[in-house]
Amino acid sequence: MRMSPPTAPAAASLAPSSRGAPPPGGCAGARNHYRAGRPRLQLVLASLALLLGGCAPDTHPRGQLRGTVLPEPIARPQFTLPDLSGEPYLFAERTAGKLTFLFFGYTYCPDVCPVHMASLAAALRGLPYQDRQRVAVVFVTVDPERDSPERLREWLGAFDPRFVGLRGTVEEANAAAAQLNFPPAVREPGGGENYTVGHAASVIAFSPDGPARVLYSFGTRREDWVHDLPILLGHEPDQALSAASADRPQPVAPGGALQVVRAFVTRSRMAQAAALYAIIENRTSSTDTLVAVDAPAGRTELHETVREGEGTGMRMQMRPVTRVAVPAGGKLRLVPGGYHVMLLQPALEWQPGDTVTAVFRFASGAVRTVQAPVVTHDEIERLLDERTGG
C-alpha cells in the first residue's frame, strides 16, 4: 500500500517514529509487565539475549513511551459510523473512558493494516482481564466497496473478536480521519480488482481520560506495544507525556467528566435475570442523576437493596427506584447489597467471558455506553473493590 503523505498539522504525528531498532527482549528493557517471572529461564535467555542483541543502549528510558508523542493532544473525534450490524456507532461516546486505538485501513491491505492489527492484538492478549476491558480498538474501513461487514468481521475476528469494525462511505471515513488531521484515503490508480488504497499508516491512541497524545506509526513492534500499554493505561507515569502536557490546557473529552469507570454483569440467582454493577464517577461540580440503563434485556430496572425487619427476622429486600444521584465530585457505586441494575429476561444466556453493552442515561442528558464483562458472583466484589485494582 501507499502511505499517504501527512497534511501539514499532522506532519509530526505521521512522520516515522524516531526510535531506533530496539534490541530483542530482555536486553533492552522490553519488560513484559504482566507475565510471571521464570528466574532460571530468564537468566539463560538473558545470556542469549546478550549474545544475540549485543545489549545496545535502549533509546527509550524506562517509563518513556515508544510511540510518537503528539505536539498537541487531539480530542476524541465526534463521528458516527455504522458498525458491522449497521447500527450507528458514536465513537466518542462508545469509547469514552477507555484507552482507544483508532486505525483507518482496509482488509485487502497487504502489509501495514494486518501488521498493525496483529502486533496490537498480540500485545493486548498479554493484558490482564481487567485491563483488557479498558481497551477498545476501532478499525474504520477506507475501502467499503470490498470490505463487506462479513469480511470485516471475519478479518478483524482473526486478530481479536473484540476489535470494533466501522463501515461507512469513503467520504465519511475521510471526514472522520480529517478530524485527526489524517490525510484522506486515496484509491491507487490501476490494479483492476486488486487495487490498493493509500491511507494513514498510524494508529492513534486516545487515553482513557479523553484526548489522543500518542501516535504509532508503521514499524511499531509487538514489544513496543507491550512496553507502552501499561503507561497508556495509567499504570506507569510517562515523563515525556507529563512534560509535554504540563504547560498546556488539556482538552476535556466528552464523557471525561462523567464516567462509568467499571461495569460488570453477573447472572442473578433469580431465574431469567442478571444484575449489572458499576462505578460511576462524576468529576463535575454539580450532582447528576442516573435515570435509566439500557441493555439487551426484556426490561431493566434500577434497584435498591434494603434491610427489613430486626434480629432473626431481618432480611434483605430489593425494591425498584426510578433514579439514583451521582454526587458532584464523587462516585455512585452500584454494588451487591446496594443500588444496582436488574436485567430482567436477558436477551441471551450470558456466560462468564461474554460482554454486555449497557447504556447509562443521566438526567443531564449525558449518555455513557460501556461494555460490561460477564463475571461470576465470586469475582464481583473483588472486581468492584477499587483498592484491589479490580
Binding site: 534490541p23 527482549g25 539463560v44 542469549l48 544475540l52 542483541g53 549485543g54 501488521v115 513492534r221 509487538r222
Partner: protein, 286 residues
C-alpha cells in the same frame, strides 16, 4: 529485477522471480567444484595416490552423488522460493536456509570431493588441535553474528547484505564440517565428537532462544507483509523448532557416524591383530 534474494517489503506472491546473482554464484561454485573433482580424479589416477590415499580404497560411487546433492541443496536454499521467503518473509524459512547452507549442503559437498581434498594441509598438520578449535570458534562466531538482530535487520533488506549472510553460512559450514569428515589421523573420534558439540553450541542456544522468546526477535520478519496463517511469534517458534529438531538430528547423525566409523576401525584393527597373531603362531608351529 533483483540479483539476490533480500527483504523488499512487497507482498508475497507465488509468481516466480529470477535472481541472476544466485545463478552466477551457483555456476561459480559448480565450476570450482568440478575443478577440484578433476584434480582429485587426476590424483587418484597417479601412481603416488596411495601415498596420500584413503583407507576406503577406490573412490565410491556415492561420493559424486553426495556432492551434486549438496550443490542442488545450496541452490534450493538460495533461489526462489526458499531464498525469497527466507530473506524477507518467514523466520522459519530463514532457519531452513541456515540449516541447508551450514549443516546439510557443506558436508555433502565435502563428501563429494573425497578424502584427499579433505586432507589437512601441511602447515595445519603441525597444530591440528589449534586448527579444529579455531574452526569451531569461527563457526560459532559466524552463527552468532549472522543471527544478531541488528545484523539481520540491517543486512537482509539489502541484496549485498543478504548475499554476505548466505556466503558466510556456506563458507563457515565448509570450514566446520571438514574436520568432522576427516577419517584418518590426527583427529581421534572422541575429539571429533567433542568438536561437533562444541561447534554447534551457538546454533543450539539460538534455537532455544527462538523457542522461548516472548517477542519476535527480527524486525525484518515481524514487519514483513504477512503470509496468512503464521504470525511472527509462531513463525519464530517454528524457526526455533526447526533449528533444534533438524539441527539435533544432523548433530546426532554426525556423532553416530563418527562413532560407527570408530567402531569399524577398532574392529578392523582387532581383526588385523588377530590375523597377525595367528600368522605368527603358524610360523612358530612350522
Amino acid at each position: 529485477m533483483q540479483w539476490w534474494c533480500s527483504a523488499q517489503g512487497v507482498p508475497w506472491s507465488w509468481q516466480w522471480r529470477p535472481y541472476p546473482g544466485v545463478w552466477l554464484f551457483m555456476l561459480a561454485v559448480v565450476a570450482l567444484y568440478l575443478i577440484i573433482l578433476r584434480r582429485e580424479e587426476a590424483a587418484r589416477a597417479a601412481p603416488a595416490f596411495h601415498a596420500v590415499g584413503s583407507r576406503s580404497g577406490p573412490h565410491p560411487r556415492w561420493r559424486p552423488v553426495a556432492g551434486w546433492v549438496g550443490l542442488a541443496l545450496s541452490w534450493l536454499a538460495l533461489d526462489w522460493p526458499l531464498g525469497t521467503l527466507g530473506a524477507g518473509y518467514l523466520s522459519s524459512v530463514h532457519s531452513v536456509q541456515f540449516l541447508l547452507l551450514t549443516f546439510i549442503a557443506p558436508p555433502l559437498l565435502l563428501l563429494g570431493l573425497g578424502p584427499r581434498a579433505l586432507a589437512v594441509p601441511g602447515r595445519a598438520r603441525r597444530s591440528p588441535v589449534a586448527g579444529i578449535l579455531a574452526a569451531a570458534l569461527l563457526f560459532n562466531v559466524v552463527v552468532i553474528a549472522t543471527h544478531m538482530p541488528r545484523v539481520v535487520d540491517r543486512l537482509m533488506p539489502t541484496q549485498a547484505g543478504a548475499f554476505a549472510i548466505d556466503a558466510a553460512w556456506l563458507t563457515a559450514g565448509l570450514i566446520f564440517w571438514r574436520p568432522v569428515l576427516l577419517t584418518g589421523r590426527p583427529f581421534h573420534p572422541l575429539a571429533r565428537i567433542g568438536y561437533i558439540f562444541w561447534g554447534t553450541l551457538a546454533h543450539t542456544g539460538i534455537g532455544v532462544y527462538f523457542l522461548l522468546s516472548d517477542f519476535p526477535v527480527y524486525r525484518v520478519f515481524e514487519l514483513a507483509p504477512p503470509i496468512p496463517g503464521l504470525d511472527p511469534a509462531s513463525d519464530q517458534q517454528l524457526a526455533g523448532g526447526i533449528m533444534e529438531l533438524v539441527g539435533m538430528l544432523i548433530i546426532f547423525g554426525a556423532v553416530s557416524l563418527v562413532a560407527l566409523q570408530w567402531m569399524q576401525r577398532e574392529n578392523e584393527l582387532e581383526r588385523e591383530n588377530r590375523e597377525r597373531l595367528a600368522a605368527g603362531q603358524e610360523r612358530r608351529g612350522e
